[in-house]
């Protein structure tokens, strides 16, 4: 009989009427790297949360190292040596790295927190596992990659030997991903057991021994990764054939629409220069993507273009007019569309209905209101049209409260709102973040279709695959500067990675 480190048998978990896990079996051997694969909402995080004691299953048994156990809370999980890096990091931003790592397992001396000892221990661990962190840094100041290292250290600090990673690579650069893969591998070599959730099939292929596929809460199969190819995995996951490449015709570039001139932006408090002398333009009929590691000024750049921030110096010219100081609504009226980086905080009013959200930047138009009175019928008609065209799914159609919609559908709603206004310039920041393959495919198609109408599209993305497949032109941002402008068809991931990490600087083609 094989010794399993983790066995989850017949696990069922429902949320109200929704069955998130339906009679799932998962068995993981000691020292194995086991991948969990599935679409958005397939139930992967739920299953792992159960293993970690965050949720109680409605039915089913969990065995750790052959022993049946009850995991009522994360403490129980810790005691069993289970650690988890969550999909959404569970870090206290205003705490230092040390404080975050020790939280819940603090060492004290005479009742006083013994931060020094803990710090030493962390420093030592970080050397041992090649997880470089500065124990004194505050989490809100560090990069996402480092935050992830903190999360991993948190597990190790608690001496976990069953490690769960929930989508650990979603936020990392290729180089960081490579690094992480090595670390995970070394954990496995040390005899630790690893469960990793990811949407990225090549990663599974690269690192995992076995893979369990979930679909709509049900387990589809557990396969030996070495004996299964990527397209088979994808088919299992989605239940149909998927295409991996985006089909698009070459761009028909026309005159420039947006020109950014000598843009500099300093943070008010620290006076730190976030953007230094940024220059570029976006032309009608092309998709320009700004690639780069998160936190290199992309967010600020877009906020300046869309009017949320005012630059320290420089100009933004849109349709031959200087719009550096015009209001957001004027820019929208002038033909700018914006799919913001944070769909819930910036894109939508979650407590409004879908219909109310669809007119968020056009409610004052004659179509939707007269003399200050909203025309609800027009609003609903309009929304119903969009629902049909963009296939937005929700429980009560145009009257659904957006808070209750799934992330993918929320994203589609924003896309629908912005695209349907037919803006001359569509700006989209991370338009497919956290979405599954199906949804990504759809959104990419829409963006390309928009370009094909002769409009300009400006995208910010941290996903290299996305950048490479959708762009006509790629601008790489590093440390507040645009370091290179590349023709998308003439570059590859490795080259981009070098620019993104600042290891290389290039020509700004014709800028």
């Amino acid at each position: 009989m094989v010794e399993f480190a983790v066995e989850m048998l017949n696990i069922t978990k429902t949320f109200g009427s929704l069955v998130a896990n339906d009679d799932i079996n998962l068995q993981v051997k000691k020292g194995e790297i086991h991948a969990l694969l599935g679409e958005n909402g397939a139930g992967k995080s739920t299953l792992m949360s159960i293993l970690f004691g965050l949720y109680q299953p409605d039915k089913g048994v969990i065995k750790i190292n052959g022993q049946e156990v009850k995991i009522r809370n994360p403490n129980d999980a810790n005691d069993l040596g289970i650690g988890m890096v969550h999909q959404h990091f569970k870090l206290v931003e205003v705490f230092s790295i040390t404080e975050n790592i020790i939280l819940g397992s603090e060492t004290t001396k005479y009742g006083i927190l013994d931060l020094e000892t803990s710090k030493k221990k962390i420093e030592q661990m970080s050397k041992e596992y090649h997880l470089e962190v500065d124990p004194n840094a505050q989490v809100s100041d560090i990069t996402v990659g480092m935050q992830q290292r903190v999360e991993i250290l948190k597990m190790l600090y608690r001496k976990a030997d069953i490690l769960i990673f929930d989508e650990p690579t979603a936020v990392l650069t290729p180089q960081e991903i490579d690094e992480l893969m090595k670390i995970i591998r070394s954990f496995a070599d040390d005899g630790k057991t690893i469960i990793i959730i990811t949407h990225k099939l090549n990663e599974i292929k690269q690192i995992a021994d076995y893979c369990t596929v979930l679909r709509k809460g049900k387990k589809i199969a557990t396969v030996d990764v070495k004996k299964t190819d990527i397209s088979a995995l994808a088919n299992m996951m989605v239940g149909r054939e998927v295409s991996f490449s985006v089909e698009k015709t070459p761009a028909k570039i026309e005159e420039p629409l947006l020109i950014v001139e000598n843009l500099t932006f300093k943070e008010h408090k620290s006076n730190k220069e976030i953007l230094s002398n940024v220059n570029f333009s976006v032309n009608k009929g092309e998709i320009v993507t700004i690639a780069g590691v998160d936190g290199n000024g992309q967010s600020e750049l877009i906020k300046i273009i869309t009017g949320l921030f005012t630059p320290t110096s420089g100009r933004v010219i849109f349709k031959d007019t200087d719009i550096t100081n015009t209001s957001i609504i004027e820019r929208i009226e002038k033909g700018m569309g914006h799919i913001p980086e944070d769909r819930q905080k910036m894109g939508l009013i979650l407590d409004y209905t879908l219909a109310e959200n669809m007119i968020l930047n056009s409610y004052f138009k004659e179509e939707f209101s007269s003399k200050g009175i909203l025309n609800k019928e027009a609003m609903i008609d309009y929304t119903n049209r969009l629902i049909n065209r963009f296939d937005i799914r929700s429980s009560s159609g145009s009257l659904s409260i957006v808070r209750g919609m799934s992330g993918g559908n929320q994203q589609k709603a924003i896309l629908a709102r912005e695209v349907s206004r037919d803006p001359d310039l569509l700006i989209a920041v991370q338009p497919t973040r956290g979405l599954d393959i199906g949804a990504i495919e759809y959104i990419h198609k829409e963006l390309i279709a928009h370009r094909d109408k002769g409009k300009a599209v400006l995208i910010v993305s941290f996903e290299l695959d996305e950048v490479l497949s959708i762009s006509d032109r790629i601008l790489v941002m590093y440390n507040g500067e645009i370091v290179v402008s590349l023709d998308a068809s003439k570059t590859n991931a490795d080259e981009l990675g070098l620019y993104m990490l600042g290891a290389k600087r290039g020509e700004l083609n014709g800028e």
Binding site: H268, L308, F309, S327, P340, L350, Y363, L374, G407
Partner: protein, 391 residues
Amino acid sequence: MENKRENSALRSYGQKVLSRFKEFRVSSTMDKIKASVISALGGILVGLIIMMLINFQGVIDFIITLASGKFKFDPNTYIIGSIVQSAPILIAGLSVAFAFRTGLFNIGASGQILVGGITAIYIGHLISLPGPLHFLVALIGAIIAGSIWGGITGTLKAYFNINEVVTSIMLNYVAAHLVKFLSRQKLVFDLFRSQTKMLPKSATIPTLGLDRLFPHSGFDISIFIAILTAILVFIILEKTTLGYQLKAVGYNPLGAKTNGIKYRRNIILSMLIAGALSGLAGGIIYLSGANATQIRVQINIPGEGFDGISVALLATNSPIGVIFSAIFINFITQFGSLVEGASTFKKEISDVIIAVIIYFSALSSITLYYLNVRKRKRLKHNSELNKEGDE
């Protein structure tokens, strides 16, 4: 710089205080009504139990006294009176509810009431106009003054990111002192009573003879003004683009801003309106009653502003609900007087009951949860959805 301020504005305290109100949005009107009614009944029940615990015989005697007619039960005082006199807290409740709906906690209604009141009184004395016109002008003055006072809070929040709770608390005191000063100026001062002079009849709120039809009730048209105002507020919030913008900013300032809705302008606008409503309440308070009510030369923060909070909360911030909750709360207050008259209990029992009602209404989602099995799933579902919002 703009962005910094914006970010911290987002994290602002008031916002956090309010986050829970967003939940109400998910439940249906019927649910809200049910929750309020259950809270009300629960509060009355608990009040009764407290009374019985203190003095069981007293409760029996109270009932006997009422039933036997030994205590003259005058419906004009105890029923009509409690309905028609609820106008001030009704409008104050609207002010608080309006602010809540647009993401602000207006704990400064009291100050706005005072400033509105003193303005009405000044206009009452300064200008002479015929009958209804005079009172209307005074009332409009009150609205404008209250609006300006509320606007200060909004402006400080919009431009300096000062939490509206702090500003409101501070401005209540500033108003108290300012109004004390204004009320002892020669023009309006009644030396013999150390309060403002009696207003001419033309400046007081018309009674249309209703006070004679229902003696002792204090009936004038202020209750009608209040109800009309509630309907107006309902229309603004639910039917107009103005309400649409204001609520959007209230629910999600950054989201609204990103989509071109002007954050600062709307914060200020929202406080201007909330202040205007409180100012109106002030006008109603000081222009109605037998000879209108005078402002005494004292440091005073009128209780109506705080009653407004209770009224709004019990009504789950629905303007139409506010009509009922104001009348109900005022009814409980009058009930206190009745109890004091017809039993050995003191009238403060009514405040105890109101407190319990408000406490229960805080628990309304739980109340409903246990009461309504059919809805149980949905509520749970909703709470899940909120989480997705936190991602």
